[in-house]
């Protein structure tokens, strides 16, 4: 037993061998304070972009790009069927003629996308919160949410859109809107919310149990714990996954064209039906890409920022 007089943390025991330990035989090692010269060596010079060194590689890659893509282009356009393909899909006159209607239709896509997105974000959060409430009082509501997710995640969105968009307006129920667009939108919200609810929930469950314990120990109610402690952290956890859904939804809005909503795809189809030329669909495709590719880049950026935050390589 140690001497009770020894003050704790006085450093008295530093380097003291534990009882019973015998020293190993070692060669003598010199002991001394090392002299340090004044000032450390200079920091490495800041790298500036060297145009001259970059010139040759840039030229080589430019030539390589021109050669490869030129060859591919020549291969495609020299094919025997190319004139027919160009006439059917890339007919400039038809593209220009149909563009105003397709663009007008695409504006509908964007509007529906934004409204449906907002509804999904809220409704899915409500579902996720209900599902993660732990009090036994909420058991029936938890079961309802589980059934909801099983049903709506298991059904094709297309089926729901047709069922709601054609079926409900046909009932002519007084007091309910009869627009196919409205009910198609509802179907999209119901279907997507099942997925987004699960994303939210995974984010909620990823919040460390100690955070809940800390909130409870401070006297926060279950509801306050959720609002102030768990949800903000959960949302930050799942932001990258949610960005994916945002991109996917942007193009899935086109499903509404099957119930007669005059979106970009529908408008293009109408044009195609009278002219037997598919160029308007290429216009619509271009518009979708124009919208989704920046969204995908934004999602990448959110992902990268999130990764940097997690690894704490900021600042």
């Amino acid at each position: 037993m140690p001497d009770p007089e020894t003050p704790p943390h006085a450093g008295a025991r530093i380097g003291v061998a534990p009882p019973g330990a015998t020293a190993m035989p070692r060669a003598p090692v010199p002991h001394g304070i090392r002299p340090m010269p004044e000032g450390p060596p200079p920091a490495p010079r800041r790298q500036s972009f060297d145009w001259r060194a970059a010139l040759v590689p840039t030229l080589i890659s430019a030539v390589s790009i021109v050669v490869v893509f030129g060859a591919l282009g020549w291969l495609v356009t020299s094919a025997e069927q190319w004139p027919r393909i160009r006439l059917q899909f890339f007919n400039w006159d038809h593209m220009v003629a149909s563009a105003p209607r397709v663009i007008k239709g695409f504006w509908t896509n964007l509007q529906v996308w934004l409204i449906v997105l907002a509804c999904i974000a809220v409704w899915a959060l409500v579902l996720a919160v209900i599902r993660s409430l732990r009090s036994p009082v909420f058991a029936p509501f938890r079961i309802m949410v589980v059934v909801y997710i099983d049903v709506f995640r298991g059904l094709p969105a297309l089926l729901l859109v047709i069922l709601f968009g054609f079926g409900i307006p046909a009932l002519q129920i007084p007091g309910l809107p009869n627009s196919g667009l409205f009910w198609g939108g509802v179907a999209m919200v119901l279907s997507y919310s099942a997925y987004v609810c699960e994303i939210y929930r995974s984010g909620i469950e990823a919040v460390h149990e100690g955070q809940r314990a800390a909130a409870r120990a401070l006297g926060l109610s279950e509801w306050q714990t959720l609002i102030y402690c768990v949800l903000p952290q959960a949302l930050r956890n799942v932001l990258p996954a949610l960005m994916n859904i945002v991109v996917a939804l942007q193009k899935d809005v086109a499903l509404l064209s099957v119930i007669g909503v005059r979106d970009a795809v529908r408008e293009a189809q109408i044009y195609t039906a009278t002219t037997f030329n598919y160029s308007p669909l290429i216009v619509a495709a271009g518009l979708f890409l124009l919208a989704t590719i920046p969204m995908a880049r934004l999602a990448d950026w959110v992902n990268r920022r999130d990764r940097e935050r997690r690894l704490q390589i900021t600042g």
Binding site: P8, R13, V16, G210, Q211, A214, A217, L218, G219, P232
Partner: protein
């Protein structure tokens, strides 16, 4: 000033017995350290006191009032008993000042101005006034711990529970925590401290309890318990501690 009375406290996690009929009296202003190997039930005992863990049998009373008494209301107990966790559990998405004022504002109904004023005073007391707008992850372990202590003290509790707060600290910071705890004791706060640092326990504790297999096997003043342990398990435990150089 508050005294804690624990009688016959028993807790199972599933089929595993974690606490076995624990009796413990902590007098007002007393500092009690709980020591023992990992899994001996120290942390669970601590968490039962502020009802983070509900015991299966037994009773805990604060000044003679059972901790599950409805008179405490929903937040009365948390106002009087505060806890600092081993990993501090600060909210990473909130600035230091928001971490500290969350409970005063949302639970105890203080205005933002009043709560922040008090928080800044408390931070200054711990030399942390310059970090009010920092996020927890920007702070060092020792700084985070001081924020966690300030957060716990904002409701002016009578009892402070400390769960292995020195475990994640650099050795040179342990002395600083020691000073903080001594100053809290001078303010009249009753403390129950779980610790692995025997030197720390010896310095702050009025009484040390050795736990093994969910029981308090031996308790006494630190000098006596560390120099002349009576139970053979206490002796064996302290022997191992000495061998690893942590006394």
């Amino acid at each position: 000033m508050a005294a804690i009375t624990i009688r016959g406290l028993t807790k199972y996690f599933g089929q595993t017995l974690v606490l076995d009929r624990v009796d413990l009296d902590v007098a007002a202003q007393e500092v009690v350290c709980l020591i023992g190997a990992s899994g001996s039930g120290k942390s669970t005992l601590l968490r039962c006191i502020n009802r983070l863990v509900e015991p299966d049998h037994g009773a805990i009373a604060l000044d003679g009032v059972p901790v599950d008494d409805p008179r405490f209301g929903r937040t009365g107990l948390q106002k009087r008993i505060a806890i600092v966790f081993q990993s501090y559990n600060l909210f990473p998405h909130m600035r230091v000042i928001d971490n500290i004022t969350l409970a005063p504002r949302r639970v105890h109904g203080d205005s933002r101005r009043a709560a922040e004023e008090r928080a800044r005073e408390a931070l200054a007391l711990f030399g942390m006034q310059d970090f009010a707008n920092a996020y927890p992850e920007q702070l060092s372990g020792g700084q985070q711990q001081r924020v966690a202590i300030v957060r716990a003290l904002m409701t002016r509790p009578d009892v402070l529970l400390l769960d292995e707060v020195t475990a994640a600290l650099d050795p040179e910071l342990v002395g600083e925590v020691l000073r903080i705890i001594a100053s809290l004791r001078d303010r009249g706060i009753t403390m129950v401290i779980v610790t692995h640092e025997m030197g720390f326990a010896r310095a702050v504790a009025d009484r040390v309890c050795f736990l093994h297999g969910g029981r308090i096997l031996e308790d006494g003043p630190p000098e006596a318990l560390f120099s002349t342990p009576q139970h053979e398990r206490t002796q064996a435990f302290l022997e191992r501690i000495v061998e690893s150089g942590r006394l």
